[in-house]
Symmetry: C2
Subunit: 120 residues, 2 copies
């Protein structure tokens, strides 16, 4: 007898943090969580780094690919850490380099907060 059972497929879900901004006033707790993500993109250097990764081949890049934004390597690392803490990037070490990847589901959820608010 086999223990192998068909496991339910886990679809990658877009987990919206909150309702669209125009649906109802956010609660304090929802606003805290959402503001962290917007704040992460609210810095020009972070936005350029993020855009460099998002537009890089395959939607991922190593630090070696994205150091041309005119700030020092420690500053780049600091900003990448902030983006990661906000859930906008994930990272993976491969050999010498750490590769960063955008989190499409999180971005899509943020986009929906705004575009659905805009549609009202």
């Amino acid at each position: 007898m086999s223990n192998a059972k068909a496991l339910p497929l886990l679809e990658p879900t877009v987990e919206p943090c909150c309702p669209p901004l125009a649906e109802r006033p956010l609660t304090a707790e929802e606003a805290e969580r959402t503001a962290v993500m917007f704040k992460a993109l609210g810095d020009p250097v972070r936005l350029r780094l993020f855009s460099s990764i998002a537009s890089h081949e395959g939607g991922e890049a190593c630090v070696c690919d994205i150091s041309d934004v005119g700030v020092s390597q420690p500053t780049v690392s600091h900003h990448l850490k902030k983006l990661k803490e906000a859930g906008l990037l994930s990272s993976e070490r491969r050999g010498t380099w750490v590769y960063y990847r955008v989190e499409p589901a999180v971005l899509a959820a943020m986009g929906q907060l705004l575009t659905r608010a805009a549609a009202v």
Copy 2:
């Protein structure tokens, strides 16, 4: 003879500040402009005020409608000014009160920056 001519319909245009974040790395100038808008939403109190206005009847509200976020009136005014400076709200005085309204085109453009980035 009538002077009435069919005028071309002016579609409300969504003027994107910048290309989607995944299209190419943002320039320094594009990142500066875009970061201002994300930063404006990167504060929990501003986000609650913004959400209160966006979800209010007709997509607009006066200060008298949105003072229940637990901060003083001068703080509310300060945050509304920041949102206005970032181009996310417009305002109009009517009698005693100033009414604030969300700028759907700006929001939609911000949303597209993110959702198109997420689709790559």
